[in-house]
Symmetry: C2
Subunit: 536 residues, 2 copies
């Protein structure tokens, strides 16, 4: 069964090996896990629903509790410490567009706020219930799901927006196709969620971001239905897809999405390359991505992440052999691991990998074959389960991310890491921090930094610490030319920083636009766009 | 000097060879060119400007006349017959953003409509002055031009929005880069025009449409400045670039654009392949584009276009030899010409061409080498001069275009052609009509149909005939699942049909959005969006 207060199914555990635990303890001290709150206890204390009975709305405490949070650190802190303050007043599971329409009209008449719920994997507070007099209804989209139509000639598939990643791939693979969209949340996130938060998959280099894959769809808004027709391309004015992409529930609810699919690749390979240090690695990957060799994935870890990954991997002996080999080739403690992948027919894959490795050699990149790449592929959706194991050892894991131009990438990485260290140091705590570039562009890269630090055992202190970290890093990102999010979206947590990149006129235009679809302001209020004139 | 009533520089002529003229005369009869109106005469009769004197505004008749039209058939008819009814009351050539700001504020205070003017190449009436009590100021952007900044690391270049295609390429090539955006209007169109009309270049298959190339920019709107920051990618809410792309002057005026550039390709090849008939050709190109071999161009002509191109090319003897060879290989009168190109390093180009030709052979495609492809490349911006020569022989050339999914492509082509023939037949005239697919996508293709027919010698009859053709074809396109424009934009001529694809709520949301930037409605009124509630 799915964990109510952690990641994923409770039958799946990503155990932390003894060496990895020792490694962490040396770096940031021994952690102590606080006692978890009990599901049953929280359910007993849940405030009464403010909604009157409705055939489509479930107001049972456990259902409301399970829809109250996403997967951000504050969400976890509230769940684990039993401090969730706000809950949706009910949850609806519409099974048809008509039922959804009924719910929208009902909410409009009674001034009920709606929070669309896909897979509940948001890490930036998209699902947070904001305390207010307005009752809140969570709209769980999981029953508006499945493959509705497949056009092999146009390589288009239409799905219910509530379809989960694995179901999308299973239904397409049965017919020889793939969408190729694999965010780390893949197992528990939905197509609709991907679209409205501008999700990015691990192989977006080859398959494209969700913006490229989403061809059209059907949106129910408080003001009616918007059908966005899927054309191969169009110059007919602004593209309506683009006002839905990233709308995060403010515009309405996506019910169906047509996506661009591809034949399953005949061949897919992931290779690993080590570089002596960051500067060589970054120069090499910039050269690779700008040469457009046709890869589907590039991911570069900095030295600390490389060390952390090798330690987490276990297989101490084998890693020892690898490290000896790398040392002989001049790769020491500053070594950085690059994973690169290609997908397609065999000829394409060989060509893409070979051209990339050739460029990498120009910066003394050492190709170590496919083993580590294949391991990465196997574990790509499992790593996130590590959050559970680390919590149980008294550690919290947080991630922050941005994207910026190449000239800013290294400074962004160093600055994000240093800002985190400074904050934790001011708290008399240590931070284990490491970074990778997960999405590469000719123009620049995403910068994805992971923080591991100890839980204090006190909810308020942990919340304050998280807030201090989050706000300092977010301010650093936007003041150094990064976007406030490359892949997680805006939600509640990033909303205060959005205006720096959109500008005053940009922000007011988005407010104005969404207000047209939602004049009463019932759609996911407080997310994406802070209330006008009330920047936190 | 640039022709005031035709295409391009008056020192350049694309002469029609005798065989081509004979070919046309056989098909649609002998044409007779009406006498052209004189520039000086029109200037003498120009209505007085309704603007009071302003240091930044030129109200001289010739300048106003030269900014009154684009390059659509009705534009030509009005210019050639001397029947232009409406003119801008003045033309401004802002040399700085401050001057542009002054003009915007001035227009706002005095309720003057502004028509942004790039290169004047619109074929759908973007520049049309709509008769109204509101004075009209044309804002010629040609002095806000030039390369402002080049970031080689991020492969970004910032240009003044009024920079013309050849200047963009010249400035980039001097430093080893290219934008790779080559619409047919390249010689006389501007970067700003490309962005706000969602332009598509002939090599968009490799370089991307302007949507992909445009990274960010600066827009002056009546409500102030909007800076759209160029990130490599972002999930931070809706993408503001996308409300500018396709805004066609309704939102404000783009003053600077940052675009994604690439190193000049070391190698570029264009090859030609003949197919026995359309069905084989379409099946082959769909297979090629869906295999993603890394081409930068694919262009498939139908049988009539193939015949027309071969006839226009002259070189009767050589073409005769080619046709004999093709007949031996089974390619007769239904043969269709495919041009395909690749750009990059030599290895990439060879791989892309070879993989594509291999697929083409599966449908009996006959590769005839590079000669025709290279000829196409040489003439790519010259063909459009043919409009001048044809007019002088009494023929008008019009083009209509759309994009649709693969399953609709053939029906769209046949339907567009037949609709045109039926209309002309009802006028007791013949139509020479042919089609190519110029932009290929995994999902479908653009369908680009050319009409050649005789001028009647009477302005009103020719205008009525054009309108009948345009409206019948446009209705056909949108009712058969095509977009009203793949590459020409909406402007004035396509505006009545936009609602079919955007829907009522989509249309009202765009109205609402642009009204936020332009509360008084001074920005290019009547273009893109028909006045609300007044669909023509």
């Amino acid at each position: 069964m799915r964990r109510w207060n952690g990641w994923g199914d409770d039958s799946i555990t990503f155990a932390l090996n003894a060496d990895a635990l020792e490694f962490l303890r040396e770096r940031i001290g021994v952690g102590v896990a606080p006692a978890d709150a009990e599901l049953s206890q929280i359910c007993q204390q849940l405030p009464a629903s403010r909604l009157t009975a409705h055939a489509l709305i479930d107001t049972s405490p456990e259902t409301r509790l399970r829809h109250s949070s996403g997967q951000s650190v504050p969400d976890w802190l509230k769940m684990r410490y039993g401090k969730i303050q706000t809950f949706p007043d009910g949850v609806a599971y519409p099974e048809s567009i008509e039922e959804l329409r009924t719910l929208l009209d009902y909410a409009g008449q009674r001034n009920i706020a709606l929070i669309p719920y896909g897979g509940g994997t948001s890490v930036v507070g998209h699902l947070q219930v904001i305390a207010s007099d307005q009752p809140v209804l969570s709209v769980d989209m999981s029953r508006l799901c499945g493959l509705l139509d497949l056009d092999k000639e146009a390589q288009l598939a239409r799905f219910g927006a509530g379809t989960f990643g694995p179901d999308i791939e299973a239904q397409l693979r049965a017919q020889g196709y793939t969408l190729g969209h694999f965010p780390q949340s893949f197992e528990y996130s939905t197509l609709g969620g991907w679209v409205v938060t501008r999700s990015s998959g691990q192989q977006s280099l080859g398959y494209g971001r969700i913006e490229n894959l989403f061809a059209g769809g059907r949106v129910e808004t408080p003001q009616g239905r918007l059908d966005i027709r899927p054309f191969p391309a169009s110059a007919a004015g602004p593209d309506l897809r683009e006002i839905l992409l990233g709308s995060e529930g403010r515009m309405g609810i996506l019910t169906e999405a047509t996506v661009r699919i591809r034949p399953l690749p005949a061949c897919e390979e992931f290779h690993a390359v080590f570089f002596h240090d960051w500067d060589a690695a970054q120069a090499a990957i910039r050269a690779i991505v700008q040469a457009e060799p046709g890869l589907s994935m590039l991911r570069l870890s900095n030295a600390t992440e490389t060390l952390t990954s090798l330690t987490l991997a276990g297989h101490k002996k084998m890693i020892g052999v690898l490290e000896s080999y790398l040392r002989l080739r001049g790769c020491g403690s500053e070594k950085c691991l690059l994973l690169l992948g290609a997908s397609g027919d065999g000829r394409h894959v060989r060509h893409a990998i070979r051209s990339s490795l050739k460029i990498a050699r120009g910066w003394q990149g050492i190709h170590v074959g496919r083993y580590m790449g294949e391991k990465w592929k196997q574990g790509r959706f499992k790593n996130v389960y590590l959050r559970n194991s680390l919590w149980e050892q008294g550690y919290v894991v947080d991630t922050v991310e941005t994207a910026c131009d190449w000239s800013k990438v290294k400074g962004m990485m160093l600055g994000m890491e240093q800002t985190g260290k400074d904050i934790m140091s001011s708290e008399d705590e240590k931070l284990h921090v490491y970074t990778h570039l997960s999405h590469l562009y000719a123009q620049g890269a995403s910068v994805y930094t992971t923080f591991v630090y100890r839980l204090s055992g006190d909810f308020d202190r942990d919340m304050a610490r998280w807030y201090k970290l989050k706000s300092a890093i977010s301010r650093f990102i936007v003041s150094h030319g990064g976007t406030i999010s490359h892949q997680h979206g805006v939600g509640y947590d990033h909303a205060p920083y959005l205006a720096v990149e959109k500008g005053e006129l940009g922000m007011s235009s988005l407010h104005h636009l969404y207000r047209h679809f939602d004049p009463k302001g019932i759609m996911n209020p407080g997310k994406l766009l802070p209330a006008e004139g009330s920047l936190r």
